[in-house]
Symmetry: D2
Subunit: 145 residues, 4 copies
């Protein structure tokens, strides 16, 4: 069972992560330790030639991991990325992308996740990422937030 609802994620994102606004992330699905997040194509993230800018995919991967972490430990504002490694596999078409983040490990101090990014409704990967989040020691308190 997820420890945060899509509504809670949306609210926390709106209030605490204003820099994600241009990406218009849309949480599609939440399970314990898993999150599926869509990113619509829009002018701000398109490259000429009709593909999605790499940094937008990195932002998507990072956000999807963050949501997956919260699905497993509850709302935690202060979790921070310590490492993100992204392999770009194929140029995506200029449409919506979907990231599927899964926790590979949830420790007391670190959460490690993998992320598969595909074009929506397609199977073939456009990018694969792994990321590490540092979990604040006081998360029990914060997760009441």
């Amino acid at each position: 069972m997820t420890l945060i609802t899509i509504e809670q994620v949306n609210e926390l994102t709106r209030e605490r992560l204003p820099f994600t606004k241009p990406y218009a992330f849309n949480v599609l699905q939440l399970k314990h330790g898993e999150a599926k997040v869509a990113m619509p194509a829009n002018e701000e993230i398109l490259r000429p030639g009709g593909t999605i800018a790499g940094p937008a995919m990195m932002a998507l991967a990072d956000y999807a991991i963050y949501v997956a972490v919260m699905s497993a430990i509850g709302p935690v504002e202060m979790a921070v990325t310590t490492n993100l490694n992204v392999n770009f596999l194929h140029r995506p078409p200029p449409g919506e992308l979907v990231a599927w983040a899964k926790l590979l490990k949830l420790g007391k101090r670190l959460a490690i996740a993998s992320v598969d990014i595909t074009a929506r409704n397609e199977d073939s990967l456009v990018a694969h990422a792994t990321g590490t989040y540092s979990i604040p020691p006081t998360r029990e308190i914060q997760s009441n937030g």
Copy 2:
């Protein structure tokens, strides 16, 4: 000697990389295989609590590598990132950041670079990245562009 001028980088960025606009990247210095790029703090990349959003730092690292690649091979529109690995070290203060990208290898097909990111006028690192760019086979032609 750099094979691209700051003016050329700025023009190419404006015309071909419109998604970088919110970051207002500012190339400070260019040498053959090296680029120093500043990113001013602004509303769009700040996190509440007063630090810079991780994805903005990833975008900065990626862009600085791209500029360093062009300093060594000339203007190349189609070079693409194949891998980016970022370690976030310290939360930066909410001010300007500077990325210093250096090519570690420039092969016919791959360029690999490291990037140090610091707060402006400070020495201590806020992030360290390494990235790989795939260089198009026809770059000789394109580099006349």
Copy 3:
């Protein structure tokens, strides 16, 4: 269909990769773009306290990717790793480990793979890796080998 047999992998490994001998790698299964490789525990790779040394897991991941690449393009001696990123998740017990490598991308110049490492007959991951191999331009000739 795999383009190399387990026997061919074993022979090539014995002849061309003598440094892998201490690991006693054992290819369990091959499909096109996928390889399952076991590494038995032995004195040479154990750490006191009863766990497997990290570098042995890195060697296993690297080898499994190499075999997966050959399953898709045939025997290629000169393919070389350009990047390997490993996340260590849990200390493995002091027994046999199994790596399952899958190509995420097979381009003309680069192959990118992910690797899941588990203890044999267990599901939970002990490590996750991604790796990039550079494929030699003359592979058509070599793959006759």
Copy 4:
């Protein structure tokens, strides 16, 4: 000032890290947060064609980071690698390699380092790595060891 001597590193390596024996690592220099480690060429790590096997370089990078961590926090047996990312740049000649590890961050829970690997007495890089170690919470006690 380093918090561990070369003699202490050698003793700890011999007693606690027997799997490193084939590599014959040789600590050349120690400063607070920095370590220079040599790895002689030998039959066990050579590839046919006369280059050093990638996994041996990964083992060298990992070990050099471990020594750099101990130079800054004292002898700590239980520090473990959580992430290692290696970029292979040029095929090294079949001779001695030197790794120079420097801590980029030393936190309470994580140490992050970069490693430059060159052929001995040469400047050009053969590999660049970054690694993360998790530092045990009880290190104050262990560092008396």
